[in-house]
């Protein structure tokens, strides 16, 4: 696939990085030559220096025969103009734009064919905010992901000593919650995946991924882990775009404090927020955390721009008694250092946001992709088309489908119904199949399974 990426910022470079490994031809456009050189040194791609909204620059980047354009520059307006140009002048089939301002999203005509003609608008800050909001709502989970328009959820929890799950074989799960159909999709022990069988025994420290219908999630969580007391106090360190969005999302239902260093930003925050308390200060200032009672916090979320600050403030908050701390960490090496350490959850913004984009790059009818475990594993949702002869899934029981080892079908959504996959479940046309892939290397094989065979067409 030929892909043009506009903007080599954090999102742009992460997207480039994860797409380049999937054998795509990538060109990156940015005004900053130094940034591009850096990218070109690390990855096998082409770069063009120039404004992403100028047609000549786009032509230079090979927009005329590209299949996908991803506009992720800092400016919403540049992204919109680029999408319009790509459609009108160069006939680019798929155009994705990053839009921060919610104003553009309120009127659907703005992104429609008679206006800027954007196929998909993504807002990484919003994706991250949704991610953290889920953690506020489900304090037991490490991560909650949704499939099939929210009908199915995948939750990750860490099993720990004394929990109801630990020390029992998986087949006992059914006995615990007979009314709910849930399925353990995968278990990670240390860094190695274990494909769950009926007699697999969960150990303390395992990261367990469990699929269930969204309405059953609470019950499943209660079974997997003893229920933590619900969150009522949240402290947010950092009042940037994510901090503000997060505070706005949860200030109605939780008591929220938000710490920001910049005084003018504080003024702006206090105007935009109705109930959350805006505090001016350094997120690693022990005195400030002390007077604002960090010990009583159910959740401490560090979302500043600076990895080190996020890590330090989380460590500090944890030591001072915050129940659960979450840090936003960009650098992959830091994430690996910290996960399962003193910081309860380390979120990698790049991994959290890339899923939406990946769905458009994948072959077959992949509608949703969630990157898991720092991009090592992936959960994807694919729609099955065709019939018994043209597709290698339709009309077959799950045990008959030729999935590579390390991939498993977790659930099927048929219309409005959620069906947990068992070995004898039969896949039908137009089913949404949720597949869990523990190793990214297996992805091409999995994708092939859901393609309609070319010979038939």
């Amino acid at each position: 696939m030929k892909i043009v990426i506009l903007g080599a910022g954090q999102v742009g470079s992460t997207v480039a990085e994860s797409l380049v490994s999937e054998a795509n031809d990538i060109t990156v456009v940015d005004v900053d030559g130094a940034r591009l050189r850096n990218l070109q040194d690390r990855l096998d791609l082409r770069t063009v220096v120039g404004s992403a909204a100028h047609p000549s620059v786009l032509v230079q980047a090979g927009i005329e025969d590209c299949d996908l354009m991803i506009a992720v520059t800092q400016s919403d307006e540049t992204n919109l103009v680029a999408c319009r140009l790509a459609q009108q002048l160069f006939n680019v089939p798929t155009r994705i734009a990053r839009l921060r301002a919610t104003d553009y999203l309120t009127n659907e005509r703005v992104l429609g064919p008679d206006c800027f003609d954007v196929n998909l608008a993504i807002c990484p800050e919003q994706v991250l905010t949704d991610y953290i909001v889920k953690l506020v709502e489900f304090p037991e989970a490490l991560q909650v992901l949704e499939f099939a328009h929210g009908k199915v959820s995948l939750v990750a929890v860490r099993a720990f000593q004394g929990g109801p799950l630990v020390g029992h074989p998986l087949k006992d799960l059914r006995k615990h919650i007979p009314s709910v159909d849930a399925r353990i999709a995968a278990i990670f022990r240390g860094d190695s995946p274990i494909l769950p069988e009926g007699d697999t025994v969960v150990q303390a420290g395992d990261e367990v991924f469990c699929l269930a219908a969204t309405e059953d999630i609470r019950q499943v969580l209660r079974e997997l882990r003893r229920m933590d007391k619900p969150v009522s106090r949240v402290m947010i360190a950092g009042g940037g775009n994510i901090g503000l969005r997060l505070a706005r999302a949860v200030e109605r239902d939780y008591s929220v404090k938000i710490i920001e260093f910049d005084k003018r930003r504080c003024e702006m925050l206090s105007t935009r927020l109705d109930r959350a308390l805006v505090l001016q200060g350094d997120v690693t200032d022990e005195g400030l955390l002390e007077t604002e009672n960090v010990a009583d916090m159910d959740l401490f979320v560090a979302v500043t721009n600076d990895d080190e600050n996020n890590i330090m403030s989380c460590l500090l908050a944890k030591r001072m008694g915050a129940r659960r701390v979450v840090a936003l960490i960009n650098r992959r090496s830091y994430v690996d250092l910290l996960q399962a350490g003193q910081i309860d959850i380390a979120i990698s913004p790049a991994q959290a946001t890339i899923g939406t984009l990946l769905a458009h790059v994948r072959r077959g009818h992949v509608t949703q992709v969630h990157s898991l475990r720092r991009g090592v594993a992936e959960a994807l949702e694919a729609v099955v088309h065709g019939d018994h002869d043209s597709c290698r899934c339709i009309g077959r029981k799950i045990e008959e489908i030729d999935l590579p080892r390390g991939a498993a079908i977790g659930a099927i959504v048929r219309g409005d119904k959620v069906i947990m996959a068992h070995h004898d479940t039969v896949v039908q046309a137009e089913d949404h199949v949720i597949v869990f892939v523990t190793d990214k290397k297996l992805l091409p094989k999995v994708e092939k399974l859901f393609e309609v065979s070319v010979g038939f067409l």
Partner: protein, 485 residues
């Protein structure tokens, strides 16, 4: 440097315009063929001649008015116009002193509605019409009217209108041009007065009563053509209509204007004062009704509610109508009503007092101070309708409250020192500065201000003007710094 001549030129035009306003009662006098007819002829002639002479003397000095000039102009208009308004009264009642006549006309244009005259029912219709017309003109503001119909004030007009319009935040323009705003406000005001007039007629008033009472209702003035005020009609339907229109007039006319233009009720929902205003009125009406019923003032809760609703709304919105002598109610009720009249009316309404928005700002400021003790590092903005209020506005409001409180104390002291009992003195100070009307004890709803001696009358007159122009406009003109270069 204050430039006197351009200010006087504008003033002279306003006086000429005001002479024309006197033609209306002249027409009424001819229609009813009453004995005050000749008084208006002379008054119109005298006013017109003075205005014209002033204009000729100062003509050619036109210049863009500066904010400072605006303060002077407004102060002059509001002191000079009532003086000319006394002419018909002075000519018609040869015994009336200028002091008393000036009090009466100031009470009219400031929409206070306290009167020195008795035997209102027997007065010539044109006199009653004149009193109520003055209230109506003063309600929305003489300068606002001048800006609306005369193109003479130009850009400086907005500064001058600000000096007259009540409320702490006046920077939001409703239309791009100040003339458009002034016209819009007067149009809405006129339409509502007309509606009120028709409703009054429909529920049983005579045409004459409907007209004069609609004037004094929409302006939240309180004058009536009857000594017994609304008690004269003794009709729940009329009282209900009056309550409705008093509540309307106590809301911000800017909000009415937006609602009219968009033909929707949404502007009221986003009005920062409307909610608190209506809630406070509703709670007070019900609370006082219950209080009266429990204290056996009225035999049934229904009657208590009827009288509570009318009189509480009337005093709280600073109108000053009365249907019963509420001075005789157990003391808590009238004192609560006095308390309400201090701040219930919304900014930009025709009512007086501190205004709901300032009260809200003060409450929020107080809460902010408390919170900042608990969270010393917190940013706690004072917000109105989701918008941050700048600190300088808060400080201005604080200064306003201080001067307002000081004025109330000063007037009370002057009245008490000159021999009034403290209840009368205090209530007079409150009702004059808030432009309400009837007070307690000697100046209660059943009596009138004729008990005051000349000194007290002048104190009340000044208090009414101070209150209508919201202190600063008048005080600033008498500070020495104002006249310095």
């Amino acid at each position: 440097m204050v430039r006197l001549l351009p200010v006087i030129e504008v003033l002279s035009v306003v006086i000429v315009m005001f002479a024309l306003a006197m033609l209306l009662p002249l027409g009424v006098a001819f229609l009813y063929d009453d004995e005050a007819r000749h008084a208006y002829g002379k008054a119109v002639a005298a006013t017109f001649a003075t205005g014209a002479a002033l204009w000729i003397a100062t003509r050619g000095n036109r210049a863009e008015l500066q904010p400072r000039d605006g303060f002077l102009l407004v102060a002059l208009v509001w002191t000079v116009v009532p003086a000319f308004a006394t002419l018909p009264l002075l000519i018609h009642f040869p015994d009336l002193s200028f002091t008393d006549a000036y009090f009466e006309t100031v009470a009219a244009v400031t929409t206070t509605g306290s009167t020195l005259l008795s035997g209102l029912d027997a007065l010539p219709p044109s006199i009653n019409f004149w009193r109520c017309e003055l209230q109506w003109l003063g309600g929305m503001g003489i300068i606002v009217l001048a800006v609306a119909i005369l193109p003479l004030l130009g850009v400086g007009g907005s500064q001058i209108m600000k000096a007259e319009t009540p409320g702490p935040m006046k920077d939001t323009k409703l239309t791009p041009r100040i003339t458009g705003t002034a016209k819009g406000l007067w149009l809405v005001y006129g339409i509502m007065t007309l509606a009120c007039m028709l409703v009054y007629k429909a529920v049983g008033m005579t045409w004459f009563d409907a007209i004069v009472h609609s004037f004094s209702t929409l302006s939240l003035g309180g004058f009536s053509s009857h000594d017994q005020n609304f008690g004269f009609f003794n009709s729940p339907a009329i009282e209900a209509a009056a309550i409705f229109f008093m509540i309307i007039a106590g809301l911000n006319f800017g909000t009415h204007f937006l609602a009219f233009r968009r033909l929707s009720l949404a502007p009221y929902r986003s009005d920062p004062e409307a909610g608190a205003y209506l809630a406070l009125l509703a709670l007070s009406v019900l609370g006082i009704a219950a209080f009266l019923f429990i204290n056996h003032v009225y035999p049934s809760f229904g009657t208590a509610l009827r009288h509570s609703a009318f009189n509480v709304v009337s005093i709280a919105t600073t109108t000053g109508f009365s249907s019963v002598n509420f001075d005789q109610w157990p003391i808590f009720a009238p004192v609560w009503m006095l308390f309400l009249c201090c701040f219930t009316a919304c900014s930009g309404s025709t009512g007086g007092g501190i205004k709901m928005i300032r009260a809200e700002l003060m409450v929020r400021q107080a809460r902010r101070e408390l919170m900042s003790i608990i969270h010393p590092r917190a940013y706690l903005p004072v917000k109105v309708s989701g918008q941050r209020v700048e600190n300088n506005i808060i400080f201005a409001v604080l200064a306003f409250m201080l001067i307002w409180g000081g004025s109330v104390i000063a007037v009370t002291m002057l009245m008490a020192a000159s021999g009034l009992d403290i209840v009368t003195a205090f209530s007079a100070a409150i009702v004059c500065i808030t432009n309400t009307g009837p007070g307690l004890n000697q100046i209660g709803p059943a009596t009138n201000y004729a008990v005051l001696n000349d000194f007290q009358t002048w104190v009340c007159t000044v208090a009414m003007l101070i209150g209508r122009l919201e202190l600063f406009t008048l005080f600033i003109v008498v500070t020495p710094a104002f006249w310095r270069n």
